[in-house]
């Protein structure tokens, strides 16, 4: 424990916005998320979430309350399933919050429905489901707790392309509902498609915070952090270097296509 996992980070996260947190393995991303969820306490400094302030001396009871604000979907969340039925597993969080069985069941069903989970499987064991279904059950278990801040750690890793697309749609739905989301990811496509803001951590220090557009034009910063641009942005960047001017760097294939078509027609 000689080296601090995070050093003197000062930052704010916007309410209702989606922030992507990126950085290579060991950059301190998970540590930061665990601090925000009160799973570990800061050695020095503080974190404020709404009315709560976490410091080194925050008692365990307070942390319990804090964790109700934050929903944390861990990497490979399906690995956390344990109950004998899907419904019991999703109800676990709400019951821990002290809700009645009825209310917990209501919330569980609503969360599963939002995730397009086939409700006829409610009584089945979660271990009988496919990988994609298991992940949806696990995410439902967090959403059923009605968090105000949602942390997603590498939510698409290990899913097939269809599952990945479904998950991105879900995140967009949650964004539309005004939920504040923090996504830890290595995938720049996700940053480009979903994030309002992006934060780059490097060896425990804040290397960048700003909009995805601002990040993607900083080639040195990207190279230092071993970040690869998505193909669409890479192409746009290369064309930019060849003298083509964009009306704001396109972030997705669709945006790139739109701008090219526009340019073509303008001539």
């Amino acid at each position: 424990m000689a080296q601090p996992a995070l050093t003197k980070i000062t930052t704010t996260f916007k309410q209702g916005a989606t922030t992507a947190i990126i950085g290579h393995t060991g950059s301190g991303k998970s540590t930061l998320m665990q601090l925000i969820d009160g799973l570990i306490l800061p050695t020095a400094g503080s974190i404020t979430l709404g009315d709560f302030t976490i410091t080194n001396e925050t008692p365990a009871k307070e942390l319990g309350k804090l964790r109700r604000l934050v929903g944390y979907v861990f990497q490979f969340p399906e690995k956390q399933l344990f109950a004998e039925s899907v419904l019991d597993d999703v109800k676990f969080g709400p019951l821990n919050q002290g809700l009645s069985d009825e209310k917990a069941q209501e919330r569980a069903q609503a969360a599963l429905e939002q995730l397009n989970f086939p409700l006829e499987l409610l009584k089945h064991s979660p271990f009988e489901l496919s990988g994609g279904q298991q992940r949806r059950v696990a995410i439902a278990g967090v959403l059923a707790m009605h968090p105000e801040i949602l942390i997603l750690d590498e939510p698409t890793v290990g899913l097939d392309p269809e599952g990945q697309a479904e998950l991105l749609t879900l995140v967009r739905d949650l964004q539309d509902q005004g939920l504040m989301i923090l996504i830890v990811t290595h995938q720049m496509e996700i940053v480009a498609q979903l994030a309002d803001e992006v934060m780059v951590l490097n060896h425990g220090q804040l290397a960048f915070q700003g909009s995805p557009q601002d990040l993607f034009i900083q080639s040195d910063l990207l190279a230092d952090n071993h970040l690869r641009l998505p193909k669409a942005i890479q192409l746009a960047t290369n064309l930019g270097q060849r003298g083509i001017t964009w009306d704001g760097l396109p972030l997705t294939t669709d945006q790139l296509a739109d701008q090219i078509i526009q340019m073509w027609r303008d001539q």
């Binding site: 344990f82 109950a83 004998e84 064991s125 271990f127």
Partner: protein, 161 residues
């Protein structure tokens, strides 16, 4: 095509790793003794319930042997080998034969406690042996309760031949 046999080795290895983890980090503080009991018996008994006497015995015996060697109780290692080996073997054997969880786990922990009484008696004095019964028995009972609770949702992975 040979995987069944190799699977026996890998499953036993994972259960041994779990035994070491349960023995080293899953400690339940016991209020009136200022001490902890560890949960390695839960791992032994789960191995017995899920996979029968050979797994129970092998995992219990060799897992406990390793656990003692790496946690600084080398003096106990041969006794632990015997205690947890017999515990796992008998619990597995009885469960396969009778399907009575209470009997299987009960006999398993009684045998384990008995071996430790002898171990303490031989190593130190008989007084120490008898004094150890309390915590060993408690540890065994807690291990058995945990094993019984966890066994239910895990049954489908068992292969109690």
């Amino acid at each position: 095509m040979r995987t069944t046999n190799i699977r026996k080795i890998t499953i036993s290895a994972m259960l041994m790793a779990l035994l070491i983890i349960f023995g080293r980090v899953f400690l339940i503080p016991i209020p009136w003794t200022h001490g902890n009991v560890n949960l390695c018996d839960a791992a032994v008994l789960l191995a017995s319930l899920l996979f029968g006497k050979w797994y129970g015995g092998t995992v219990g015996g060799f897992g406990a042997l390793l656990l003692d060697l790496i946690s600084g109780y080398a003096n106990f290692a041969p006794f632990s080998f015997l205690a947890h080996g017999l515990e796992g073997f008998l619990a597995g054997w009885l469960y396969t034969r009778t399907h009575n969880r209470f009997l299987a786990l009960g006999v398993g922990i009684v045998v384990m406690v008995a071996v430790y009484v002898v171990a303490n008696g031989v190593l130190y004095t008989w007084v120490a042996g008898i004094l150890g019964i309390g915590t060993d028995l408690l540890q065994g009972i807690i291990g058995a309760v945990v094993a019984a609770l966890v066994y239910q949702p895990l049954k489908r992975w068992g292969n109690n031949e």
